[in-house]
Amino acid sequence: MNSPNSPSPLPERAIYGFVLFLASQFGFFLFCLWAYVPAEWLALLGLTYWPQKYWVLAVPVYLLVALVVCVVVLFGVNMMATAPLDSVDNITDPYARRQPRHEGPEGGIPRLEDVPISEVNRKFFL
């Protein structure tokens, strides 16, 4: 049975997705209406309190520039989050230190566990 938090598709999720899709298409249509219809015609309808038309150009440009900056910043954040060469996190971590050493069954495959770096080096390089 799927766990209650699984990300698999469900009928409810399909409906939410379609509603969001319709709403975003409609929102874009309203944005285009506001952008292209001259302010006088909108005033004739009695709707006078609008943002300046400057934002029709500014908002898309801001969003695209923010997207490009995010790509660069993401790369930078990844590099900052990488442990430096002199950090103990490259060697071990609290879980590996606390793991119990199990005795494997006779002739069987040993359990999966963290092998200490000294042992790994001896096997590879000596």
């Binding site: 590099m79 990488t82 442990a83 060469l85 002199d86 950090s87 103990v88 490259n90 060697i91 071990t92 230190r97 770096i117 000294s118 790994v120 080096n121 001896r122 590879f124 390089f125 000596l126």
Partner: protein, 180 residues
């Protein structure tokens, strides 16, 4: 000693000099290539041509003299603080390990680690910028817990030799360390 071609992680050639002073003492010296006169000339001409272009635009002679001063001071700082000429590792059994970096201006920085603090010398792989590299490091013992690693000292941090060089150093160091 032997002429196997060693390179650093970027492919630039380095040299490894290995002296076995006695059965429990060896020294490894990894030398980086010197600053080439071609690079110096190219960098200087770029800076000066750019400064001359700015002078043509602004007609301010201070730009030219400041470009000369910046070039000189920049080169002095570079060879004194940044450019490493060679790094050496001296292993003395049951005494300790001495690491030394010598800069292009002649300045040397040396540090010594006692054998009792050293848990092991290992070759580890880690992510460095956009690639995964092998590097040799000394694991220091935790004073509170004898089997835990408290800190890591990477060796040859500026020259960053590739695995063939590291394995040579590793084998010799393990011989000495496991004896004492």
């Amino acid at each position: 000693m032997d002429d196997e071609k060693y390179t650093d992680i970027n492919g630039k050639p380095i040299t490894l000099d290995y002296q076995r002073h006695s059965s429990f003492c060896t020294e490894f010296i990894v030398s980086s290539p010197k600053v080439s006169i071609g690079t110096v000339m190219v960098a200087t001409s770029f800076v000066w041509i750019f400064a001359y272009a700015v002078f043509c635009l602004t007609d301010n002679t201070a730009v030219l003299s400041s470009a000369i001063i910046i070039t000189l001071i920049g080169m002095m700082l570079y060879i004194h603080f940044v450019k490493i000429d060679h790094e050496s590792l001296l292993v003395i059994g049951s005494l300790g390990i001495q690491l030394s970096s010598s800069y292009a201006s002649g300045r040397e920085h040396t540090s010594f680690i006692e054998m009792s603090k050293i848990k092991d010398i290992v070759i580890n792989e880690a992510i460095y910028m956009h690639q995964i590299i092998y590097y040799l490091c000394i694991l220091l013992r935790d004073p509170a817990d004898a089997s835990a690693v408290s800190s890591v000292v990477p060796l040859f941090p500026s020259s960053k030799p590739r695995l063939n060089c590291l394995v040579k150093v590793y084998k010799t160091c393990q011989e000495i360390i496991s004896k004492c």
